[in-house]
Each structure stands twice: as C-alpha cells, then as structure tokens.
C-alpha cells in the first residue's frame, strides 16, 4: 500500500498546480475529510447506524446463522453417531453369529465323535461277544472232535483186533484168543506209530 500512499501524496501536492484545488471548495487544503464542520454529523450517524446494525446483527442475524450452523452440526453428529451405532451393532451381530456358528460346529464335531465312539464301542462289544461265542463253539467242537477221535481210536483197536482175528482164522484156521490178538495188534500199532513218528 506504500506506493499508493506515495502516489496520493504526489497527487495532492500537484493538485493546486493543475488547478484542481478550486474544486475542493474547503479550507483544509483540498481534503474534504479535514473539514471539521462535517465531523459531528458523521460521528452522530456513525453511532446511530452502527448501533442499529449491532442490534440487528446480535439479536436477529447472527443467532439465526448460528442456529442453522448448529443444527447442521447436530445433524452431522447425530448421523455419525447413528452410523457408529449401526456399525457396532453389525460387528456385534457378526461376532455373535460367528460365536454361534463356532458353537454349532464344535457341538456337531462332538456329537460326531460321540457317535463314532459309541459305534466303535458297540462294534467292539459285538466283536468280543462274537469272539467268545465262536471260541466257545470252537472249543465244544474241538472237544467233540477229540471225544470222537478217542472213541474212534478205542474202536479202531477193537476193529483191528477183530479183523486180525478173522484174518488169522481164515488164513490159518487157528482160533487165537481175543487177548492175544489185541495184544499183538497193540504192539504192531505202537510200532507203526513209532515208524510214522520217526
């Protein structure tokens, strides 16, 4: 602003030279601002107009603008709050959903495990039962077989003695005693058994 003030000073200094001063028409050397007679009216109207303006601004204008701005701020704050609430609710819901999902999953896994265990147990039990039953059957069968074999073994001695006695009597017309025949049969069979064993 300095250059402007300088220009102004130069202009004001030159103004008499150009004959402008005559147009100013006051006693303060060209500047109407320095005419003191105009000061009271300017001061008076400045005070009046400024006071009225201040009253209008402070009572009517600025409170209205402030209320508009505050309403907007309030609205923005409320909306943000609402958004935050909704967001936290969503998070909560997601967490509870995840938790229930997790719970359901683990429950299902537990149930499956239980079922598996139970099935395994029953299967094992059935297997064990079956095994004992089969063992029992095998044992009785073996016993039966042993008995039958023993029986058969006893019979075989008799049959062999009878056949031997018959064969001897047919071949030699001798009539060997039963005791002698069975004795020699026994000896022969023992020898045979020895032979087979070696």
């Amino acid at each position: 602003m300095k250059h402007k003030t300088l220009l102004l000073v130069v202009t004001l200094l030159m103004s008499p030279a150009f004959g402008w001063a005559a147009g100013g028409g006051n006693e303060a050397g060209g500047l109407p601002q320095l005419d003191l007679t105009t000061w009271p009216t300017q001061l008076f109207w400045l005070i009046v107009t400024f006071a009225i303006m201040y009253l209008l601004m402070s009572v009517m204008v600025t409170p209205r603008i402030r209320s508009v701005l505050e309403d907007r701020q309030q609205r923005i704050t409320n909306d943000l709050e609402k958004a935050r609430d909704a967001d936290s609710k969503v998070t909560e819901m997601r967490l509870s959903y995840e938790a229930s999902l997790e719970a359901a999953r683990s429950e299902a896994a537990e149930k499956a495990r239980d079922a598996l265990n139970e099935a395994k147990l029953t299967a094992e039990k059935a297997e064990a039962e079956m095994a004992t039953k089969l063992n029992r059957k095998i044992k009785t069968a073996e016993k039966k077989m042993m008995k039958m074999r023993d029986d058969a073994m006893v019979n075989i001695d008799e049959v062999a003695a009878e056949i031997t006695a018959l064969t001897v009597s047919h071949l030699t017309n001798l009539k060997p005693t039963k005791a002698a025949v069975s004795k020699s049969v026994k000896i022969a069979m023992a020898a045979r058994a020895n032979q087979e064993a070696s």
Binding site: M1, K4, T5, L7, L8, T11, L12, S15, F18, G19, W20, A21, A22, G23, G24, G25, N26, G30, L31, P32, Q33, L34, D35, T37, T38, W39, P40, T41, Q42, L43, F44, W45, L46, I47, T49, F50, I52, M53, Y54, L56, M57, S58, M60, V61, T62, R64, I65, R66, S67, V68, L69, D71, R72, R75
Partner: protein
Amino acid sequence: MHSPVEQFTIKVLFALNLFGYDVSFTNSSLFMVLTVLASVVFLALAIRPAALIPGRMQGLAEMLYEFVADMVRSNVGNEGRPYFPVIFTLFMFVLFSNLLGLIPYSYTTTSQIVVTFAMALTIFLGVTLIALVKHGFHFFSFFVPSGAPKALIPFLVIIEVISYFVRPVSLSVRLFANMLAGHTMLKVFAGLAVMIASAGGVAAAGSVLPLIAIIGLTGLEVLVAVLQAYVFTILTCMYLNDALHLH
C-alpha cells in the same frame, strides 16, 4: 476539471440540528444507512431458507459468519465468544462500506478519517477498559516485556507505551488512507481519460489506455476493500486478545 478528492465532499441531503450540533443527513449518512440495510437484509434473506444443504446465498452468509468466527476463535480463543457479535458487525460494516463505495456515484464512508478514527478509538478504549476490568493493576505489566535486560526496561516501556497508544491511529489511518488513495487514483485516471477524450480527433482514442487502467484498478480496489475490512477486523481481534490474555 474537478479535483480528484472532490468525491469525498460531504453533501447535506437534509439539514438536521440536535442540541446545537449540526447532525444533518448527508451523503455519508445515507451510505451508512445503506451499509446497514444492505448487510442486514442480505444476511437475513440469505439465511432465510435455513437449509441443511445451503444454496449459494446461504453458503455465502455462512461463509462470512464462519470467517469471522474462525478469526475470533483463532486470535482470541474461547473468551472472545461474547465479543463475536460486535466484531462481526464491525467486519460487515467496514466490508460493506468499502464495497458499496466502489459502485460509481456512491460514497465511501470509510474514506473519512473521522469515521475510521472514531471506530478505532472506540475499539482502543473498549479493549483497554476490558483489560483493566479483567486484570486490574496487573494490566500495566503489559508494557514491560518479559525477559528483557533490566537496563533496557525503561526504554522498552516507553516504546511499548507509545506503540500501544499509536494503535488507534495506525488502525484508523490504514483503512482511511487505503480508501482515500484507491478512490483518488481511480478519479485521477478517470479525469485523465476525460481530458484525453476532450482533445478530440485521433488523439481521443488514447483515452482507452486510462480506461483500461481503471478496469485493472477497480479489480485491485475490490481486493483492497475486502482486505482492509479483514485487516481492520483481525487487528481488533489481536488487540482484544492482548487485553484478555496480556502476553
């Protein structure tokens, strides 16, 4: 040819006398009234829709409000709140005076030293009173810069006191001189244009040059009008801050 400062002449529109003082309604008074009307009516109409999403005019009114509110908040702080209406009024008064004065054939009330000085002196006295009420005797510590060497303190106090009492002068003269200089320059170039044009013939075409200068200057003056209103207001805020917080 008229003087370029003739535009600042006070013309009585109708005479009025109150308690022996001449308080005639003048062209200056008329433009003060127009300043009040224009600023209040503009703001009242602009904020009228009170829309959540403001239109252009409402946005402008809100911007003006927030501009001054930010200025007060950042320069004075929260204690400046009660003074916001008067600072806002001050800003709008100076701004509209400056801008209305740029309309051709109008009058610039802020180009009168008595007007700017009255405002500056009122601000100065008001601010000093606020400081005295708030801080009492402690206010005078404002003139003693902290951390200065003891030997220098008397000089510094003198300088501080002078610079304090120069405040209303610098505040008022800054605004007054800017308005005066701008309008005088516009008038000088306008007078030049008329002078060249009156030469007649081909030479008259040369008056285009000062006219172009006037266009540029008018743009500059709009900037100056807004800037000076801002400067006047922000300095008021700073003085108020000094009064409320001392250093």
